[in-house]
């Protein structure tokens, strides 16, 4: 009984120190609100409002119609007409245009004669992902144009691809981002709370007082872990609510599955946070230590760039990255209604990571306490 009442009072004290000041309270909520409000619009690899430079040396009907179709597609908000190669170079060089299209003088003649007419498209290699996506937009606009032309001429294409997207049919980027944000913001929140709570006590000298109290090192650990888990759950819930009710992202999977996985994820994170704070002497060290862990973990989670594009050995290394597994879980449950079997296959690495980091942290704590 004393065990729980002691932990209870420590947890209460932790919450008090988190919420006692106004700026402390603000900092637990404001970033979450700000990030959920801004990032779905910012962190997108979607290509919108791009500009297309056009150098049209041909003035036949075919080229005019093709350009009109490019202009009418939503991807390009601005068409920049250029009249020479130099202007075209400049448009790309100054980033005015993401793509430039060069239509040769004999374009319409060749098209009407049934020859293949090449159109040069220049992609800005400094923005290779965007320019490739914009190029594929051009390609699909052209495909429709060619199909219409074939249809008008009474020809039938022998085969065609019928493409569909599952889970998110219109490829809304915000769905992907919000699902990933649940994992990422929770990570930042609970990691910093755990990492800094012990080192703050150490820096202010109150850690010794805790050690001479009847609390055992394990109880101190639990007392520090509970608020972090609560903060993590709270922030994740905030984003979930915003995603479902404000952004109208359909939640397809099971909430119980998501929160169950979240519990093990928080334990893994708390382990990391406590380990960092047990090896650092000051708040600065703890914060920067947490940062050195957090940034690579988030960057290599598959959110910024897919894990499968990494070299094979790095893909294996990312197995120990808890963020990677949890991002995958949230996206799976949220958007794809992942099966319990699939979630379990992603949770067991989290359990292994959590067990490892918590054990390490406990060892470090006992050494410090001794």
């Amino acid at each position: 009984m004393t065990f729980f009442s002691r932990i209870h009072s420590l947890v209460r004290k932790e919450f008090q120190s988190l919420f006692s000041t106004k700026s402390g309270r603000m900092l637990l909520i404001m970033p979450v609100i700000l990030q959920t409000a801004l990032f779905p619009f910012a962190a997108t690899l979607e290509v919108k409002n791009a500009s297309l430079a056009v150098f049209n040396e041909d003035h036949g009907r075919a080229s005019v119609e093709m350009m009109q179709r490019f202009a009418a597609s939503g991807a390009f908000s601005r068409i920049i007409p250029v009249w020479s190669n130099e202007e075209m170079q400049q448009a790309i060089g100054t980033r005015d245009a993401l793509l430039a299209v060069h239509i040769p003088a004999d374009f319409s003649r060749k098209v009407t004669n049934g020859e293949t007419s090449p159109v040069q498209v220049i992609l800005d290699g400094r923005r290779s992902n965007s320019s490739q996506i914009a190029f594929s937009y051009l390609q699909s606009v052209l495909d429709v144009y060619l199909k219409d032309r074939a249809g008008a001429a009474g020809r039938v294409v022998p085969s065609e691809i019928i493409a569909r997207n599952w889970f998110v049919p219109n490829l809304e980027y915000t769905y992907f981002i919000l699902a990933s944000l649940v994992a990422i913001i929770t990570t930042i929140g609970s990691l910093i709370v755990t990492a800094l709570s012990v080192s703050r006590e150490r820096e202010q000298g109150t850690f010794e007082q805790l050690l001479v109290s009847p609390l055992s090192p394990e109880m101190i650990m639990i007392g520090k872990a509970v608020p972090a888990v609560v903060v993590g759950f709270f922030q994740a819930t905030l984003i979930l609510i915003a995603a479902v009710f404000i952004y109208h992202v359909p939640f397809r999977g099971s909430l119980a599955l998501l929160y169950g996985a979240m519990f093990f994820y928080s334990l893994a994170l708390v382990g990391v946070g406590l380990f960092i704070s047990s090896v650092s002497k000051t708040q600065q060290q703890a914060f920067l230590g947490a940062f050195v862990f957090m940034v690579p973990a988030i960057l290599l989670s598959g959110y910024t760039a897919p894990v499968e594009n990494m070299p094979l050995w790095l893909q294996r290394v990312t197995w120990i990255n808890p963020v990677r597994h949890f991002v995958e879980i949230v996206k799976g449950v949220f958007l794809k209604d992942a099966s319990p079997a699939r979630v379990c296959s992603l949770v067991w690495p989290l359990i292994v990571i959590g067990f490892g980091t918590l054990t390490l942290a406990a060892l470090m704590f006992r050494r410090k306490a001794a």
Binding site: G125, I162, V168, L171, F291, V292
Partner: protein, 375 residues
């Protein structure tokens, strides 16, 4: 009273420098973190899809279907896995084992040879990964077009494609995203050094009570400000050179610019982020809060709103407006210009002007917040 006593300033700077070098965490951030980040951005953040995992189900035993399947499998851009049922394909897609799948339906070979009939091929992409889905679609489409062209050629028909788009990539012929991501990532590294490290320094003095001791001394506001800026400026510049060196010689990113251009742009950006970090630290007076604030006010915008991964032009108008007050935005474009295009002052000019403004604003804000008295 004179604004600056050089002796005092030297002593204060020396004290700050000692504090930097005595704390392993600042060395970790200034020298280890940049290498780690460059390495991550060099190898881990790769937006060029080399092998997309795609499932394939061939329901048709005809030669045309087999031929198309072989073309798909032979594509260097795809890693094709064969499945024997739709259910298996769907499960693999839900479990993210594949990013999309192609189904060649039962009557494909018959229909494709029948004049006047279009034979459909079904392509399903995993929409929960929108960027990957785009690449799956365009890659499979490309393979399909090649297959059609070859087929027309083999049968002696004239090419059906009247217009072909021929892409040519400028500035970066191999289209490797690394060459533009690494110069951009240096921005994030410099933000970490400039804003995160400094967000703690003034708050720490307040928390530990050493600020009172400082204020009791004859130190002036300008000195107080300079002694916090100069050592971290030096640290940041060394780190910048380290980053550029590693990017160029180890990661083999072509560097076409010059050192003076790098110095001008780097200094202005560093001063801006130092200003942000110090302003937060001076305003908050609490390390925990300052750290959180710096993370949200400097680090996350540098990643999300600077345009080095995420295209600014794709953002809504309101956010595009916000990016204008973020110094990282100007540093990203100027670093990319310096690396890829060389020292072109005409291109760099506007960025330098904006960076000078942000540096002035944020340092000015810190100066305003720095009070020479206790509250």
């Amino acid at each position: 009273m004179k604004c600056i006593s050089w002796r005092r300033l030297r002593a204060l700077c020396w004290k700050e420098t000692l504090q930097i070098f005595r704390d392993p965490s600042s060395i970790l951030i200034a020298f280890f973190m940049p290498l780690l980040m460059l390495f991550i951005f060099g190898y881990g953040i790769n937006l060029d899809f080399s092998r997309l995992r795609v499932g394939l189900l061939v329901e048709d035993g005809g030669t045309a279907a087999a031929d198309f399947a072989a073309t798909l499998t032979g594509s260097p851009w795809l890693e094709v896995h064969s499945y024997d049922s739709r259910a298996a394909l769907e499960r693999a897609l839900v479990d993210s084992q594949i990013r999309g799948f192609v189904v060649i339906p039962g009557d494909f070979s018959r229909k494709v040879n029948q004049p006047g009939v279009t034979a459909p091929v079904q392509l399903v992409a995993d929409g929960s990964e929108p960027n990957i889905a785009q690449f799956v679609r365009s890659t499979v489409n490309g393979v399909w077009q090649t297959w059609q062209a070859h087929r027309a050629e083999d049968r002696g028909e004239e090419p059906r494609r009247e217009i072909s788009l021929e892409p040519r990539v400028w500035f970066n012929p191999s289209a490797e995203s690394r060459n533009f991501i690494i110069p951009g990532s240096i921005t994030v590294i410099m933000t970490v050094i400039g804003a995160l490290l400094t967000s703690l320094v003034v708050a720490r003095e307040w928390e530990r009570g050493t600020m009172e001791a400082l204020l009791a001394s004859p130190v002036t506001r300008t000195e107080l400000l300079l002694c916090k800026i100069l050592p971290y400026y030096a640290l940041g510049m060394i780190s910048l050179l380290l980053c550029v060196g590693v990017a160029h010689w180890v990661l083999r990113v072509p560097f076409r610019g010059t050192i003076p251009a790098l110095w001008v742009v780097g200094s202005l950006f560093l001063l801006s982020v130092l200003g942000i970090g110090l302003a937060i630290s001076t305003g908050m007076r609490n390390q925990f809060n300052a750290a959180q604030a710096a993370l949200n006010a400097a680090f996350l915008p540098a990643v999300m709103l600077s345009g080095f991964i995420y295209e600014i032009s794709s953002m809504p108008v309101f956010l595009r407006g916000v990016t204008h007050i973020i110094p990282a935005r100007y540093f990203v474009t100027s670093m990319q210009t310096i690396f890829q295009a060389g020292t072109d002052w005409r291109l760099l000019g506007p960025d330098i002007l904006m960076l000078a403004c942000t540096a002035f604003v944020f340092i000015g804000l810190t100066a305003k917040l720095t009070k020479r008295r206790m509250e």
